[in-house]
């Protein structure tokens, strides 16, 4: 799909250590932490061309390119980020960062707590979207970025972009909120809780301290991922891809894998449970549940958005029922009520919530058109 000429090529992850304690929304304080990140492209002389990519639930800092020629897969947004791509690394200095509490290198539950010499596990504090944004702001300081040309995110990443625009109005010129929502609905929280229960009730979870037991709560994590995956696809998309196809062509009258969709979900679940940390999954879903910038304003999202100075692009996908277009329209309505500059597109797609990672042509055209203007403004 992506030819190497438009790839950022070989990349490597960098690490930034922060010794200044980070006060968290929960009231606890993280005494010190590390963030792992990647950058692509070149920061221009006045540092006006920096773009931050905020990742979603299972994402990380490896946004584009490969670590080695032999890597099977490129970064998770390689179809959007690269030379000549909508987030054009010939023009922008692109930063991808693994959030606090993650399991891809930044300080999180699976990292070793220097005070105890053991993994944090159950003692790692819950972090919120606002906490992430504060940590990202410190990384921006470190990189010499006073103001982002754009902060971009899909799903949970879009919530971070929205939080940036409110918390640091002078540090964001454009916020791109894709397939996101200003807060989760009860249904969304319910899905998250079923996923959490799957993990929490796995006997191998050991209250979050499974590291010491040399086991992983694979079963729970696998179920959580299978459930999540169902909600990321649309009924139509799933039907088109799998329908009622049987692996062997006939019913076996048993509980082994028979339908292709079962095979697919189990494979996705297995793959995920091998590489993702259960505590990180719990923490990420809680960050999703807690996000609600309007709460401090009696539910008035427009009032919460009043301080924002960024211009906004909001995009949703017609078949996305986990973060439906109606949820994006809530954000748009509030932005309009607050008198902000905003554009909104509702992209026709069969890919459900996952569409934000796909390349439906109107979506790519929208991103390209918007970011071209962002680059022009940045003199890039």
């Amino acid at each position: 799909m992506t030819d190497s000429s438009s790839s950022v090529g070989l990349v490597r992850a960098e690490r930034a250590a922060f010794a200044t304690p980070l006060p968290l929304a929960s009231g606890s304080v993280l005494p010190a932490y590390e963030l792992v990140f990647e950058t692509y492209g070149t920061l221009n002389a006045d540092a006006s061309n920096a773009v931050l990519i905020c990742h979603a639930l299972s994402g990380h800092h490896h946004v584009a390119g490969r670590y080695a020629e032999t890597d099977k897969a490129a970064g998770w947004w390689d179809n959007m980020v690269g030379p000549g791509k909508p987030i054009d690394t010939n023009r922008f200095f692109v930063v991808g960062v693994n959030n606090l509490g993650g399991c891809h290198g930044s300080t999180g539950p699976s990292s070793v707590n220097p005070d105890t010499g053991r993994p944090w596990g159950s003692t790692f504090p819950l972090v919120t979207v606002a906490d992430w944004v504060c940590a990202q702001a410190r990384l921006a300081d470190r990189l010499g970025i006073e103001c982002w040309a754009a902060v971009i995110g899909g799903s949970l990443g879009g919530m971070q972009a929205l939080e940036w625009s409110i918390r640091y109005p002078d540090r964001v010129r454009h916020a791109l909120l894709i397939a996101s929502a200003p807060k989760l609905s009860a249904q969304n929280i319910a899905f998250n809780d079923v996923a959490r229960q799957a993990i929490l009730t796995d006997p191998e979870f050991h209250g979050g301290d499974f590291y010491a037991h040399g086991v992983l709560p694979r079963r729970g994590l696998r179920l959580a991922r299978m459930l999540g995956h169902i909600t990321y696809l649309s009924d139509d998309g799933m039907g088109e891809k799998f329908g009622r196809m049987l692996r062997s062509g006939e019913y076996k009258f048993g509980f082994d894998v028979e339908f292709e969709i079962e095979s697919y979900l189990r494979y996705q679940g297995d793959k995920f449970s091998d590489r993702f940390d259960a505590n990180t999954y719990l923490l990420m879903t809680k960050a999703l549940d807690y996000f609600d910038p309007a709460a401090a304003y009696g539910g008035d999202l427009a009032a919460a958005l009043a301080p924002a100075r960024a211009e906004f692009l909001v995009a949703s996908f017609t078949s996305d029922w986990r973060f439906s277009p109606a949820r994006s329209r809530e954000t748009v309505k509030a932005l309009i009520a607050a008198g902000k500059r905003v554009s909104y597109a509702e992209i026709e797609s069969a890919h459900g919530h996952d569409a934000f990672l796909m390349t439906d042509p109107p979506y790519v055209a929208l991103m390209r058109a918007y970011l071209d203007r962002v680059a022009q403004e940045a003199g890039a």
Partner: protein
Amino acid sequence: MKPHTPLRADLALIAGWIAPGSRVLDLGCGRGELLAHLQAERRVTGYGVDFDVDNIVACVGGGVNAVQADLESGLAEFGDASFDVVVLSQTIQAMRHTEAILVEMLRVGREAIVSFPNFGYWRNRWQIVGGRMPVSDAMPYQWYDTPNIHWCMLGDFEALCAKNGISVLERVVMTGERRVSLWPNLMGSLAFYRVSRPGRAAGVQ
């Protein structure tokens, strides 16, 4: 700034009705030509609304804020009295909820500008006399494939306004690029109205 191509004559007329610095909502904004012009020439702020994602992309690329929405379901994204002017250019005749959109426009806007092809134009009448539904450059569709489902003439539109307590502040009728003042309902192919609710224009609710 990029040099602008000259604005289409009908849009130029509408632009002339919009005071500098106004907050404008352009319904059925297409590729955003009117708002781009108003932003550059009259320091206007506002949003375009269009149903077609390709038009949203074009607006975004041209620096015009645009919101993808279906006008048939109203203007729920926009609050009461939040715009100085709401524009609906050559679209009302293609809408199912004609009366509803007119009322919505004056809910969110202090003033509304509506333009539409005048069905009473003599060339249309002449084609009807000849036994066929009118087809012209301004109305290039056959009866069976036209998106224009609510044709009207000047008097019809004015009656709809009167029914809803809406007053006509100004009316211009054009044919091509020329203004028509003699027998407008016969000689004019395109009608433009600037309307408001009594009291609204003066800023009174």
